[in-house]
Amino acid sequence: MEFPPQLKYTKDHEWARVEGRRVVVGITDFAQEELGDVVFVELPEVGTAVEAAGTFGVVESVKAVSDLYAPVSGTIVEVNTVLEERPELVNQSPYGEGWMIVIETMNAGELPQLLSAEEYRAYINQEKS
């Protein structure tokens, strides 16, 4: 299972790629593996405000409907609308074509609270034990 070291992670199993004030968000390889085949992704509209740890969407797999939680607060400036037609990209490429939203954050103070790849790996190992 892959957790790219350049990304940040949350205990809700989202990843965040920080590009200045833009934060690209998706769900982790562990999350997509646990969910199984993703059949539906519901994402917000561009311009929506989100809170850190607040919900921003819904993912449905063959096993469960799960809420999606924002790693940082801010405004959604991009949405991966391709997932409406191709939700399987979340399974096939969770860190690539399966990205979900881009948040423009005004609060850089939230970023250090996210987990590193090593911390996230330790967290899921603890969850699995």
């Binding site: 539906f40 449905e60 096993k63 469960a64 409907v65 809420d67 969850e127």
Partner: protein, 293 residues
């Protein structure tokens, strides 16, 4: 509530046969109130006062439901808060279980939760003499065509229950940060013909779907060694979950705040045609418009 362990006592709720909108509103209420803290894990059993076709969270009613047939046969339509495909609820026991996602022992993963609840359901049915099998393979055991069926019972997922290869419990789950809701249909009898009449199945394929359904899905009283009543199954479920999770499950009433939220969700969401037929996104837009007007 993050990180709290599993209390040793759960609540048992038997809410009897109720209408579709109330049934879904109460399941979502139990999930939301537990997430907010202050309510115990709950095992609920219930039935349906009117035959009801329930749809998964993301199913497109206009493409998958034959509304005229539902009206003709007196079948209500409701959308679940959980995922999956269509289920016809009639002569059945429905279970719902609301738990923290952090169990006090064992892995805290979706797969483990599915497995543990599957074991509890299996224990309940085995107690009634049924030789149930907990599916362990990762993918549907069904051929591709059955997997494409709009009916939930047409495909067996990992950790779902089957008897002689036929699905006997259809379950679906919704997860929040700290709480999960899993509910499922345990048919005592099954009307396969009526199910496919209520779905938008091309008429030329309906006969094949119904025939296939006899090989892919079954009901408790089609295979039980002795006739099983709803109350026998309620008690078996209470014991099965108690044994597998190592808890006492004791009858206790709804709290006033749960009654209030269930009433609100009943009237504003699950009795709404927009939620039931147009879906979650359309319902959220209409709710936002109602708030601003």
């Amino acid at each position: 509530m993050r990180g709290h362990g599993l209390p040793q006592r759960w609540r048992f709720l038997n809410t009897g046969n109720r209408e579709a909108a109330y049934n879904m509103a109460l399941d979502e209420t139990l999930l939301l109130r537990h997430e907010a803290g202050g309510t115990p894990p709950t095992l609920r059993v219930y039935g349906w006062s009117t035959p009801t076709l329930s749809l998964g969270y993301a199913q497109k009613a206009c493409q998958e439901v034959n509304l005229a047939a539902c009206q003709q046969y007196g079948v209500a339509v409701v959308r679940r808060p959980t995922g999956g495909r269509a289920v016809l609820h009639d002569n059945e026991v429905t279970y719902s279980v609301v738990l923290p996602t952090t169990l006090s022992y064992g892995p805290d993963t979706l797969t483990e939760h599915y497995r543990r609840i599957g074991l509890a359901l299996a224990t309940a049915l085995q107690g009634l003499g049924l030789a149930v099998h907990l599916e362990r393979s990762r993918r549907s055991a069904q051929p591709r065509r059955a997997a494409d069926s709009p009916a939930c019972f047409a495909a067996i997922a990992r950790y779902e229950l089957s008897v002689a290869g036929k699905k006997i419990v259809g379950s679906a789950q919704k997860r929040l940060q700290h709480t999960l809701l899993q509910h499922g249909s345990m048919p005592l009898q099954m009307e396969r013909q009526r199910l496919f009449q209520c779905l938008q199945v091309p008429p030329e394929h309906r006969y094949a779907f119904v025939q296939e359904a006899y090989t892919t899905m079954t009901a408790i009283n089609e295979i039980a060694p002795i006739p099983v009543t709803a109350s026998m199954l309620h008690e078996a479920l209470r014991q099965g979950f108690g044994d597998i999770f190592g808890v006492d499950i004791v009858a206790a009433p709804l709290l006033p705040e749960e009654e209030r939220l269930a009433y609100e969700l009943h009237t504003t969401k699950y009795a709404s045609t927009v939620w039931n037929l147009d879906g979650a996104t359309a319902w959220r837009h209409s709710a936002a418009l109602a708030r601003t007007s």
